[in-house]
């Protein structure tokens, strides 16, 4: 009765790429900014997982720009690794650039073939195989939702 299930350890390692596990173990940008311009918490209602994103913003240009960013989360490796990569990618970028990147990331998670060759996604490519596990996609997008809210014009 055992071992007749199609997937095995290869599938597992494809899903939990080393980059994901590395970011989970040693997350970038974890913490809270003291003088934050915006703090947003999002929750995945299915599992109760939370992510909080704090940002400091530069509003001098035509488009608001992320000066600095931190996240906190009690979530799974997928949500933490995604948030960790997000802090690297968002720092110094404008709201418009971040919105485009978020959409592209969502395309990748949906299994869009073109997105898997999109170099702008950088380390986020490690999540490409998540399209086979749709139940976990909200985990990968949790912190990005918080960031989008934080950048929404007041």
């Amino acid at each position: 009765m055992t071992a007749t299930h199609p997937a095995g350890s290869a599938a597992l390692e494809a899903l939990y790429q080393e980059q994901i596990l590395a970011h989970y173990r040693h997350p970038h940008g974890k913490g809270t900014l003291a003088a934050a311009d915006a703090t947003v918490t999002t929750r995945n209602p299915l599992c109760g997982e939370e992510a909080t994103v704090t940002v400091t913003l530069d509003r001098t240009g035509p488009d608001v720009r992320v000066r600095d960013i931190r996240f906190t989360s009690d979530g799974c490796s997928i949500s933490q690794a995604s948030a960790s990569m997000m802090t690297d990618l968002a720092r110094g970028r404008t709201a418009t650039e971040i919105a485009a990147l978020t959409d592209r990331f969502a395309d990748l998670l949906r299994g869009d073939a073109a997105a898997t060759h999109d170099e702008t996604l950088g380390p986020l490519q490690a999540f490409a195989t998540l399209s086979r596990v749709p139940a976990r996609i909200p985990c990968a997008l949790l912190a990005w939702k918080a960031l989008a809210d934080a950048l929404r014009p007041q």
Binding site: M1, T2, A3, T4, H5, P6, A7, G8, S9, A10, A11, L12, E13, L15, Y16, E18, L21, A22, R25, L46, C47, G48, E49, E50, D74, G75, C76, S77, I78, V133, A135, R136, C139
Partner: protein, 421 residues
Amino acid sequence: MTTVMTRRADFPLLVRQPGLHYLDSAATAQKPAVVLDAEREFYETSYANPHRGAYALSARATECYHDARTGVARFFGLRDAACLIFTRGTTESLNLVATAWGMHNVRPGDEIVVTRLEHHANFVPWQQLALARGAAFRIVELTPDGRVDIDLLRHAVTPRTKVVAVAHVSNALGTITPLGEVAAIARSVGALVVVDGAQSAPHMAVDIEALDVDFYAFSGHKMGAPTGIGGLIGRREILEAMPPYQMGGDMIEVVGDERTSWNVLPHKFEAGTPNVGGAVALAAAVRYLTSIGMTEVRRHEQTLTAMAIERLGALPGVRLYGPDATRRSGVVSFTVDGIHAHDLATILDQEGVCVRAGHHCAQPLLRRLGVSATARASFFVYNDAADVDALVSGVRSAQTLFHGPRVVSPGTPARPATASR
């Protein structure tokens, strides 16, 4: 080694998916062929709207519905079958009581008592009733091993307590609540006892007359019946004194232009065309369980639970929640150091093992345990030792993936995985 007999062959989904280790029966149970056959047979031979048509087929459907109620009542040892109301399940049953009884009997200054173990379905309706009626809402805390603390319950219950609402068995930890003690305490102040039986009805013998509680709610889908059918068992005097919950067809006696009188039990609480097919299937499900014997169901699950507790507990870094196997049903809730429950569930899924990960609709409990999520394996009649093997081996795969192939000891910081690709 205890031999554990499997009834897997009775369940078509499990027969079709031989590699599947279904360990999520606390969420919902797979369906035996006899239930699917009974439902189909009913629709193919006896289906019409019950209670309405003046023709033989409708009379036949009415009889099937009536027989289903009698059969399910007998399963619970209920003598007066009219005190079994068919509902969509536990959630609807508990809302029925909290609304139809609660809104008319709970007054400002009264007290409502629940426990820290409750599923949201037996927590939120009472919390909201308390808010709506200006009553106090008390939560009885647990012993360290996750049982309702009876001493704390004794202190929480006062002459102002109108209702004590408790889970017979916790879905998150499996804890079995000693209902006799709870009922005695509630009885001493004249409070009602409302029991969430969602996790006891499928897994142990329930003799409703012996339990001496006022309401007992259950869900058919956790017992092998389809979704959308379940029940509420209540005391006749209380049900008769209560106003209806929903208004419409079937539940009326005479509808005047200004006033309406209510139908007799159980119809007063069954507005609209009932789920006859579901009731027929539920009756088949309880026949199936009876053919095994509820004592045997309990023994079988207890064996697997003890096995899982022992084998998971032997793995370094695994934390188990809840009491020992004799005081819990077939539920094993656990966490693994350094691995979030969701990751664990995804990894187990890759090996064909279905477990639930999350708060199990019991956020007040998980907050108190100090975890945001646990993984939960739960057993039913079709599980066997191979399912426990697969669970344990899946947890070890997860540890290997996250911590590397060597044995991890609790508290050791996670090491980078030694990639074996």
